[in-house]
């Protein structure tokens, strides 16, 4: 499955890009995705972030099973 990864705010300063595609296996939990992200961008380890799958925040045990948009979101600052 193809994950369209999107990065926002201070996360972009670590990844140095706003989007990339990740050709993952057949399924992946958000916990596994977190580990993959931190291995790829080690400075992410000290960052607080939430993950949205197809524009819905999901918990770490959520299982991605098909192509989707996955957003890595730093703390919100609206208002």
């Amino acid at each position: 499955m193809i994950l369209n990864l999107k990065y926002f705010g201070r996360i972009v300063e670590i990844t140095n890009l706003t989007e990339e595609q990740y050709n993952a296996g057949e399924s992946m939990s958000l916990n596994e995705l977190r580990t993959w992200l931190i291995n790829r961008y080690t400075d992410l380890e000290k960052e607080s972030f939430q993950i949205a799958v197809n524009q819905e925040l999901k918990s770490n045990d959520f299982l991605i099973k098909g192509d989707c948009e996955v957003a890595i979101l730093p703390p919100f600052a609206g208002g």
Partner: protein, 148 residues
């Protein structure tokens, strides 16, 4: 397939002007079943952090998700409160200290509903909408804002 009401556009480029607020108020004067309006305005503060003063905030957002969240929050408020009207506007891009970045406007027959709904909306927006803010200091350095 599920049909959805098209989300109303919330984001505006740059600061929200007092004139925009006045126009919005004036538009409600034909709605003579309204007895109470509540308006919340978020204004960018010139906070001093480690000796440096914030001169403005540069807002960005995960726009598609944010507009969807604004839509869900609006629907929840209409469900929960007896409202005649509701409007939300949020800035994107640079907003200077002293300028307005959030405009929440609720109208109802009676005051309690308008005030409760306005507060609900502001709290929901702060907690659940993916908006990000870069606090820019006078020397052009910056830090990322986090809602408290």
């Amino acid at each position: 397939m599920e049909t959805k009401k098209k989300p109303k556009k919330v984001f505006v480029q740059g600061a929200i002007s007092p004139e925009k607020i006045a126009t919005s108020i004036a538009h409600h004067q034909v709605k003579t079943n309204i007895g109470a309006h509540d308006i919340f305005l978020g204004q960018v503060r010139a906070d001093e952090i480690d000796g440096k003063v914030v001169q403005g905030i540069d807002y960005s957002a995960y726009e598609e998700m944010a507009e969807q969240k604004f839509h869900e929050i609006r629907e929840a408020a209409f469900e929960k409160f007896d409202l005649t009207c509701m409007h939300i506007y949020h800035s994107l891009g640079p907003v200077k200290a002293g300028e307005i970045c959030l405009f929440v406007f609720t109208s109802s027959k009676h005051r309690a509903m308008a005030m409760d709904a306005c507060r609900f909306l502001v709290e929901e927006i702060k907690a659940n909408v993916p908006v990000f803010g870069k606090e820019i200091f006078e020397d052009e350095s910056y830090q990322w804002k986090v809602n408290s």
